[in-house]
């Protein structure tokens, strides 16, 4: 309450427009806090979800995009690469020349695995009867990493057997050496913490905002507000600010839990992380406003936020099921789910330590979504007044 008192004191010095605005925001906070259950749910749900998802849910993920670093380019390396390429689990997406390139591809989430051969691979193998292959896997999705590893190991072993049979003489030994990137201990929480962020922020921002605005419409108070000198944009802004503040609280609690309880590392820039989160919150708020301009009852608003926003976030964003495992149609559909881009970006920044250049695509897509959503809802809101 101290917050409000100091706010009130300051208010006298501000101009009248801001006074009208702030008294409206104040009222909105009162609505939330007076409803103890809502407040509790809003503040505790994220905590609960983080813990549940972090510990309870395992996922089965597959990302078959592979980069190959092959300096020797001989029969054997070509044979192994072909073996991988013809299997349904892998696609050879990139052929690179330096390890730096591999690193970049991982940070941009363009590949799930990289294969590195030694120089003169085939020659060495014939001379010594032994050869090593380095397999690098992106373990921010631990299940993906271990599955890819198993499949790659099996394919390499089968190639080794064919080769030995053909050459007939000495048995050859190809040993794949696996290196798990970013998440050497294969913790599931690495992939769920960003997912929960994506889910909770949508839930709080879109659902609560849309319900709060629709409630005014349903109660008839919106009519009174529209007749008042408050401008429509002020009303919308004042209604969203409290939920914006709440989502900041949630953001903080999820990040703290992820770091201290689930031990998810924060490798990247904290500022960039927050920037991406704010952008995502913005998208979610815009979604909520859009919903509120489309429907007239709280129940419908709740259902729409639940079905149209929550389910795709859970099912299609890569939180539970890997996007690359989905049927193509669903993969296309997942492109319009903001959480998909958010989760990818957050993983890159938080766990892989990627910079802005690595997530520029995700950032721009989210920004575009926010602009389109806001544009459409402002237009809708004006039409409704007519």
């Amino acid at each position: 309450m101290k917050f409000f008192t100091c706010w009130q004191g300051k208010r006298r010095r501000q101009n009248r427009k801001f006074a009208a605005f702030s008294s409206f925001v104040h009222k909105e906070f009162l609505h939330i806090f007076r409803d103890m259950w809502t407040t509790l749910i809003l503040l505790l749900l994220p905590v609960l979800m983080t813990v549940l998802f972090g510990f309870g849910i395992t996922t089965e993920i597959k990302n078959g995009k592979v980069a190959v670093l092959d300096p020797s380019k001989d029969v054997a390396t070509q044979g192994i690469v072909d073996k991988l390429a013809t299997s349904e689990y892998f696609t050879i997406a990139y052929r690179v020349n330096t390890e730096q390139e591999i690193d970049d591809l991982f940070k941009q989430s363009k590949i799930g695995m990289a294969i590195v051969f030694n120089e003169k691979f085939y020659e060495n193998m014939l001379h010594t009867g032994q050869a090593q292959i380095l397999l690098l896997a992106d373990a921010t999705d631990p299940n993906t990493a271990s599955m890819l590893n198993t499949y790659a190991g099996m394919l390499i072993a089968s190639y080794q057997m064919e080769l030995s049979k053909n050459l007939g003489t000495t048995p050859l030994q190809i040993t794949p050496e696996l290196r798990l990137l970013y998440n050497p201990t294969m913790k599931g929480s690495y992939s769920t913490a960003p997912g929960v962020l994506g889910l909770v922020l949508i839930l709080i921002c879109a659902m609560m905002t849309s319900v709060a605005i629709v409630k005014e419409k349903q109660m008839g108070t919106m009519e009174v507000l529209l007749v008042s000198p408050l401008r429509p944009i002020t009303i919308i802004l004042a209604k969203t600010i409290p939920y914006f503040v709440l989502s900041l609280v949630n953001l903080t609690s999820i990040l703290l839990l992820s770091y201290f309880l689930l031990e998810v590392p924060f490798v990247g820039s904290f500022l960039l992380l927050i920037a991406v989160c704010l952008l995502y919150i913005f998208v979610a708020l815009a979604f909520g406003i859009l919903i509120s301009t489309l429907v007239n009852s709280q129940l419908v608003a709740m259902l729409i936020s639940g079905m149209v926003l929550m389910l795709p976030v859970i099912m299609l964003s890569g939180l539970l099921f890997p996007v690359n495992n989905m049927p193509l149609v669903l993969q296309w559909f997942s492109c319009v789910v903001p959480a998909r881009w958010f989760i990818t970006a957050i993983k890159s920044v938080m766990i892989k330590g990627a910079g802005f250049d690595a997530i520029i695509k995700e950032f721009l897509i989210l920004l575009g979504m926010a602009v389109v959503l806001l544009g459409v809802s402002i237009k809708k809101f004006k039409n409704r007044l007519e």
Binding site: R11, K17, H26, R34, V224, L225
Partner: protein
Amino acid sequence: MMTIKATELTKTFGNFTAVDHITFAVQKGEIFGFLGANGAGKTTAMRMLCGLSKPTSGEATVAGFDVRTQSEQIKKNIGYMSQKFALYENLKVWENIRLYAGIYGIKGKEIGKRIDMILEQLGFEKEKNTLVKELPLGWKQKLAFSVSIIHEPQIVFLDEPTGGVDPVTRRQFWELIYQAADRGITAFVTTHYMDEAEYCNRVSIMVDGRIDALDTPKNLKYQYNANTMDEVFHMLARKAKTAKS
């Protein structure tokens, strides 16, 4: 002095003409009854006067401002109370008053005085900290009315303000309207209750989007050879193509 002036005001939605060339004027401090069956076009007309919806054709000024181009100024000079209850149920009585005082730009120091004034006027001193949802309906409506004129507007629009309220409280409610009118606030009232129509200075009756009658209750009764406004109303409403009442 005319605070509301409408000339040939019209609103169409596609082929449907909700308000059909209505012309009327309301004087300052007058209590103007705006009657009509459901669907006769009252709400649409009122929305245009409040600056919520733009007329298809015709002109209107409210408090001297054009409804087409100066809706922002109009909004500052009018109060509005709708048939739906307009206060926030889970805010306390004084918090509701403070909210609207803030929205209408009343200064911080002044707000406290207004809150006390309204509470005293209504005899609600003890209810200052009561949540609005705990008040009886009639009390809520009285409070809503006082809140709607907290900024001393030139005109207050009342859309079925007494729906569902018992006769005694309705009587008290009209006392408040008279007090406001004495201070020079024009009241523009729609109502279903024909006994309330008798309280108005002048009454207009809308049928199918047109104003079919406009005069003092006394003259209307004389003109239609009726004993009550109720009879007058039914004689007119029977002519409607889409009679509903």
